[in-house]
Structure formats: C-alpha cells, structure tokens
C-alpha cells in the first residue's frame, strides 16, 4: 500500500510541477503582451500627434508637439525659467503641497475625531460645516492671496483647506461608525475615555482616514497650483500661467507632464505608507486574484 502510493505520488508530483510551471509561463507571457500593448498605445498616440504637427494637420502653435514639449522641458531644466531654476519651481510647489497636506490632514483628523466623539459639538457645528463645504473653496484662494500675499503661506492655506474637508468628513464618519461593542468592551476592561479613543476609536477611524488620504493628496497639489495661478513669485503654477500668457502650448503641456509625474510619485509613496499602516487587514480577494489562472 505504502509503496504503491509512493509510486503513484512521484509522477503526480511531476504533473503538479508541470502544471504550475505552465501556468507561470502563461502568466509571464500575458504580462509581456500587456506591456507591449501599453507601449504600442503610447507610440501610436504620440506618433500621430508628432506626425500631425509635422505634416501640418495639427497646428503646433495651439496644440504643441511631443518633440516640442521635450525640447521645452530640456531647456527649462538646463537654463531655468525667468524666475529661477526649474528645480526651484518644482521644489516650491512640492513644499506648498506637502505643508498644506500635513496641516490639512492634521486639522481634519483632530476636528473630525473631536466632533465624532462629542455629539453636542457635532450638532452645533454641522450646519456651519455644511455651508462652508458647499462653497467652491477654490475661490477662497483669492482671499488668501489678499490676506497673506504672494508668498508661500497663501498657497499652503488653500491646499490645507481643500485637504481639511476631505479628511474631516472621513474622520468624522469613521469615528461615528466605530463598533459599539468594541467601545463597551474596552470600557468594561477598565479603559478611560482617553484610552478608548487611543486604542479603539482612533485606530478604527484610521481605515476611513487613510482611504481619504489619496484624494487629499491630489487636492493638496491642486491647492498649491491654483494658489500659484492666482498670484505667486515662483512655482509650477506660475510656470503654467506664464506659458499661457505667452501662448506657449509646449510649456503648458510640459509643466502639466511634470505635475502629473509628481502626483504619480506621491501616489505611489502613499500606497506604500497605506500598506504599512493597514498591514493588519485581511488580504482582499482582489489582491490574491491571479489573472489567467
């Protein structure tokens, strides 16, 4: 019996190996196919655009051209802009966005948890928060530039205000939806009110808060750039505004590209942080879903 099962087990194990290696090979091939198709899309779109401008079907004055954009970026990086090096512009915008993000997230979490924990405050302030939230907050930028001038603070404030509301609503909702059993259990085990917030309410709301951070990050960059549009001495927003005023389509697209890359990088960083913070969560079925097998 033992020998028989051992005898049949060996070829079976071989089969198993063959099956998994075949599946792995299929997966690898599929990944390469997807990559090739993605590259093809980029080549076709950019190629058509470039070709169109060269044969005169697309007016490069209004629409720019891929080569023109690259040249413009090379020029900026090499020779700088009218108001300092290009790196300095990127740095300014990043600094504004980052500071706005930090202050907005901090404020949103503090106020959200406070109002979520104290229903009286929530009832008192909810109509006012709704009113402020209903305003198109971008226009606040004009006020901030008037108050704080053309420097960094006005952009940071605008970015922070945009970020604040996103995070606030999530933090508030997160605190409100904490499992009452968990709170009751902690209290029976002897937790003080502060310990309940620290050990139960805040970590529980954290999933909601983290979910809002991706959106908040986008808003912080929007806030910084719109703030620079409205009046600034440097920054990527100013670069775009200048390019617009001189009908430099390549410049607008070039700055746009840089902002897009910055946002992508920040987003990737955010995902890493998110995975670290939410390591305790069960892996969702979407993560373990393997395409093609």
């Amino acid at each position: 019996m033992t020998t028989m099962s051992a005898a049949t087990a060996t070829p079976l194990a071989g089969d198993e190996q063959a099956i998994t290696s075949a599946a792995r090979e299929r997966l690898r091939r599929r990944r390469i196919q997807v990559l090739i198709a993605q590259l093809a899309v980029a080549v076709v779109v950019l190629g058509t655009w470039q070709l169109g401008t060269m044969i005169g079907a697309i007016d490069p004055f209004f629409f720019g051209s891929p080569l023109g954009i690259v040249m413009r970026l090379v020029d900026w990086f090499a020779n700088g802009t009218a108001y300092g090096s290009f790196w300095e512009q990127i740095g300014t915008t990043l600094e504004e966005a980052l500071l706005g993000f930090v202050f907005g997230v901090g404020g949103g979490i503090v106020v959200g948890v406070l109002l979520g924990e104290v229903p009286f405050l929530a009832d008192v302030f909810s109509p006012y928060i709704k009113i402020v939230n209903a305003l198109p907050r971008i226009v606040l930028g004009s006020i901030f530039v008037m108050w704080l001038g053309l420097g960094l603070p006005s952009k940071v404030l605008l970015a922070a205000v945009l970020v604040f509301f996103v995070v606030f609503f999530n933090a508030f909702q997160g605190v409100r939806s904490v499992d009452r059993n968990l709170v009751a259990n902690a209290r029976i085990l002897g937790a003080s009110r502060l310990q309940v917030v620290q050990h139960v309410v805040f970590p529980s709301a954290m999933t909601w808060i983290i979910a809002s951070l991706h959106v908040a990050l986008g808003f912080s960059i929007i806030g910084a750039i719109v703030g620079e549009f409205l009046g600034a001495q440097n920054g990527l927003g100013l670069v775009i505004a200048t390019a617009q005023n001189t009908f430099d389509a390549n410049g607008v697209f070039g700055a746009m590209l840089v902002i897009g890359l910055l946002a992508l990088g920040a987003e990737a960083l955010m995902s890493i942080i998110e995975n670290r913070l939410l390591a305790w969560r069960p892996k969702s079925s979407a993560d373990s879903n393997v395409a093609g097998v």
Partner: protein, 279 residues
Amino acid sequence: MNAANAGMGGVVMTNVTKRFVTPTGAAMTAIRDINLTVEPGQFCAIVGPTGCGKSTTLTLAAGLERPSAGTVAVSGKQVDGITRGASFVFQTDALLPWKPVEANVALGPVFRGVAKREALQQARDWLKVVGLSGFEKHFPHQLSGGMRKRVSLAAALINEPSMLLMDEPFSALDVQTRAIMSNELLSLWEKSRPSVMFVTHDLEEAIALADKVVVITAGPGTVKAVFEVDLPRPRGAVQEIRFAPRFLELYQQIWQSLKEEVERAYRQQVSSNLNRGVA
C-alpha cells in the same frame, strides 16, 4: 485567586426596570421589575424568548446602562459606573482587528496601568491556558471562529474578574465547536470560580452549564421562574450530560415554563408586524 474573589461578584437586582427612549421620543420598556440574585461564584444562566431584555440585564450589571427604576448591586455595592471586577464576552467577538492576538488579550492589564511588557507576558500566559500558544502574533482575522472565542475568553479572564457576563457567547459557532467551547468554559470557570451571568436562548446549553436557570418572560421581560440545577459538579462533557435522566427531567420542567413565553413572544411579533403591514 479564590481568596481574592471570596464574597465578591454576587449580583442583586431589586425591582429593576429599564426604559429606552427612542430618538423619536417614544419610550420602550425593555425589562420591568426584575428581581434576581446571583450568589458569588454561582453560574447563572438566563433564558428567554428573543427581544425579552436578556442582554439589557447584562448591560445593567456591567454598569454600561443605569436602571430607570430599582437598584443593581454587584459585590454588595450599588452600581453607579462601570462595574469593577466584571468582564464581558459578547456574541460577536469584541477583538480589535488591528492588534495581534497577544495585544488584544493584554488590553485589560494595559488599561489598568500595568507596564506593556508585563501585560504582554500575562497575555501570553493566558493564551497558553486557552490553548492558543503559537498564535500570539496572529491577527484576529487569521483565526477561526472558535479560536477567536478562545481569545475573547482569555481577554475577559486576564483581569481575574469576580463576575463574568456572557451574552450568547457561543451562538455564532457551529455545533461541534460550541460543545468544545462549553467544556472549555466550564473547566476555566472551575479554576477561579467567578460568578457568571450567561445569556442564551439554548436551553440545553443553559442547563448543562449553570447552577441556576432564570426564565424571563416575553418583552417587557421580568423573571418568570428560577430553577436550581442540581446536577453534580464537575459536570464533565456537556455532550454527555444531556442524556442524564435528571437533565431530561429539568429540561422538561424548564421548557414547560419557557415554551409559553416563546409562543407569546412569537404572537407579539406577528401582531406587531401585521399592524405595520409587513406580514
């Protein structure tokens, strides 16, 4: 442990009524005129139909709620805050999903001001007691329902409670796991002998575990009858004791009393659904 708990953990409820006010302003009476005594070290099961306010009696004993009328005293002291020396085991396990198992069990000592390292050591000891050595670093979602229940038990017992409040603790488990957990609970209980209030709607479970079974009427609930369970201790396996002649006799008696209430509760529910046009 026994010495510290001597004379502690007894519950005396006198003419306790609890009303809840709904957000629309309507008052709902959950329990009325409950008189109930649990001796220190006694295992008391509370059975009754759905919605009769069984769980409310537990939240009153835990000090999570105040009675609208009457008094609740635990260990001879009137309850006017969170009851000291009580632990609660809920139907759904109240474990923090973001903390590993050992940190969950350590919560009790941490809240009481024990240093973290010391608390974690205690937690690991208790995990050994409930048979979960090797799972200290796992997160709750990585464990089965029965294992999570063991963690809940360890988290409740680590505070060395003089009173253990259990609200249908095993009702979410499958039948086999439930039997195992019942045995486990009995052997743990016999080691430190806290008084227990155990809410269930499984009469077999109630008789197999308890010294005393309290039948609550259909809502608003009040005590209908109290039955002393004189089965000898230690009881041994709960799966086997349910075939003992005395067990069946008690079961018949208590079921007679409980059946009327279950039927009454069912009729109440049907008629209220009819009034709302649901049925």
